[in-house]
């Protein structure tokens, strides 16, 4: 057992370096009860794989099936807002279990196959080129502001047939939705503002696609309503979800990956020798080494024993991708950034029936960005080592990443 336990998952040192904290848990108490939030923390790679592949034991309907109050605690006057959040989140397809989850996923799954996402590569490549042209002309770049954010927003908005001029507004709403992974006492206000704003924004787009469907992704969701798989509220919520999830996690892949590459000159050299040939494996290593998503939650559907501990029915169970991807039992030299690593069975996209729907799209965007950076900015380096992360236990998200190449 741990003698002293830091139980505040939102403390500045855990946010700054989750690897040290969760790495220690993984070694000493891999199925750990966090008293503060009444929550199990799962940190080993093999446990995470086992858990995510036993979806019948661990429900994804974490908002609908959790009878306890929000964690961390929220302002009591915001309990009404929390009910709104529960209803909103509860209608996301990812917050469902089989058989409903399978039925919902099948509406969307075909849009995101590796083959159909590959067809988007030229669009992604052109978009990367345009953004890097602009950065080059300006002579400086904040990777977060000028590349990692605009690229995935541009791509998902194009897929969804969202007007170009609305992209900034979507990002502003998305930033409010990110309060879901934070611990602020008063987070329900910005969060529900973001949710209501999204619903309001996508509603007329859906009305239009119901009557006049196209080949965009909102039309795919609208078809789900016609088939009776989705209610209108579910179409609204899932359109919003895809707009957000379709870019937020990729932002973190691009930023965290660029940071890792600039911090490891030997690996940057290696990538530069053959950017087209090595971008694929480099992207996998970026996904593993500093994963875009830190952790995800489930609710136990029955009593389950893991490593001698009994997880009771309805217990909250949170699994840590960031820790599993640094598990020395799963990866030799797990804390070493190695773009030639093979095999690389990281769990950045989760595993099992809920494996990330947009995984291939994220991969394509990562590959194109890391390749283009290596080809165009051989002297790329971070401007500062003084970097700050968003205080989230869900997303591993830098606030900014200024770089130079002169």
């Amino acid at each position: 057992m741990l003698t002293t336990v830091q139980d505040n998952l939102f403390s500045p040192d855990v946010i700054a370096n989750p690897y040290a904290f969760y790495g220690r848990l993984r070694g000493e108490d891999p199925v750990h009860w966090n008293e503060t939030y009444a929550l199990w923390l799962i940190t080993r790679h093999d446990d995470l794989v086992w858990l995510t592949r036993h979806h019948e034991l661990f429900s994804s309907a974490v908002f609908r099936n959790d009878p306890r109050p929000a964690y961390p605690a929220i302002d009591e006057s915001d309990l009404g807002l929390y009910e709104y959040v529960k209803n909103y989140q509860g209608d996301q397809f990812i917050q469902h279990d089989r058989p409903a989850h399978l039925e919902m996923r099948r509406v969307m799954h075909g849009y995101f196959t590796p083959k159909s996402m590959e067809a988007w590569r030229p669009f992604v490549r052109d978009a990367v080129k345009e953004l890097l042209d602009a950065a080059e002309a300006k002579g400086e770049m904040d990777v977060m502001r000028d590349l990692a954010t605009p690229l995935p927003v541009l791509v998902i908005a194009e897929m969804m047939g969202v007007p170009k001029e609305d992209r900034l507004y979507i990002r502003q709403l998305a930033e409010k939705l990110l309060y879901i992974g934070r611990g602020d006492y008063d987070r329900m206000k910005p969060l529900t503002e973001g949710m209501r704003g999204m619903i309001e924004y996508v509603s007329p787009l859906i009305d239009k696609r119901i009557v006049d469907p196209g080949d965009d992704f909102i039309s795919v969701l609208a078809r789900g309503e016609k088939q009776g798989v989705f209610t209108r509220h579910q179409v609204l919520v899932n359109t919003s979800l895809l707009l957000l999830a379709g870019h937020e996690t990729t932002i973190n892949l691009l930023c965290n990956g660029t940071l890792a590459l600039t911090r490891h000159p030997d690996q940057w050299e290696l990538l530069k020798q053959d950017p087209a040939g090595r971008a694929k494996q480099a992207t996998e290593e970026c996904l593993r080494y500093d994963s875009p998503v830190i952790s995800i939650q489930r609710i136990a559907t029955e009593d389950v024993e893991m490593r001698g501990k009994v997880l009771r029915k309805d217990d909250r169970v949170r699994w840590f991708i960031s820790s599993a991807n640094r598990d020395p039992e799963a990866f030799p030299n797990a804390d070493t950034f190695d773009i030639s690593r093979h095999p690389n069975q990281h769990v950045a996209f989760g595993s099992g029936t809920h494996h990330c729907l947009g995984a291939t799209l994220a991969r394509v965007e990562g590959q194109e960005v890391f390749r283009a950076l290596a080809e165009r900015f051989p002297n790329l380096r971070a401007e500062t080592e003084d970097l700050e992360y968003q205080p989230s236990i869900t997303f591993r998200s830098l606030k900014s990443l200024p770089v130079t190449w002169h």
Binding site: R53, H54, L102, R105, R106, H109, G110, F112, T113, P114, K115, P343, Q345, F349, S351, G352, T353, H355, C356, L357, A359, T360
Partner: protein, 74 residues
């Protein structure tokens, strides 16, 4: 007479998404690791098997003509 197929799943790539099992349940079945295995390449039509292969999110499914060795997917 439908041609004979050779179908297999790469265990190092399969993430147990189980979409293949839902599309062609007589061909693909999850094993004790909750990874897919091709248990009967003649269990469903070639079209269903190719649909399952195409819908694998990590491209872990391989399909060949059993007699000629011609790669049908990917």
């Amino acid at each position: 007479m439908a041609r004979k197929l050779k179908v297999w799943v790469d265990p190092h790539t399969c993430v147990g998404n189980a979409m293949c099992e839902s599309i062609a349940p007589r061909v693909f079945r999850l094993n004790e690791n909750r990874q897919s295995e091709a248990v009967d390449p003649a269990g469903d039509s070639e079209a269903k098997i190719l649909e399952a292969a195409e819908n694998c999110p990590v491209s872990a499914i391989f399909v060949e003509d059993a007699e000629t060795g011609e790669r049908l997917f990917p």
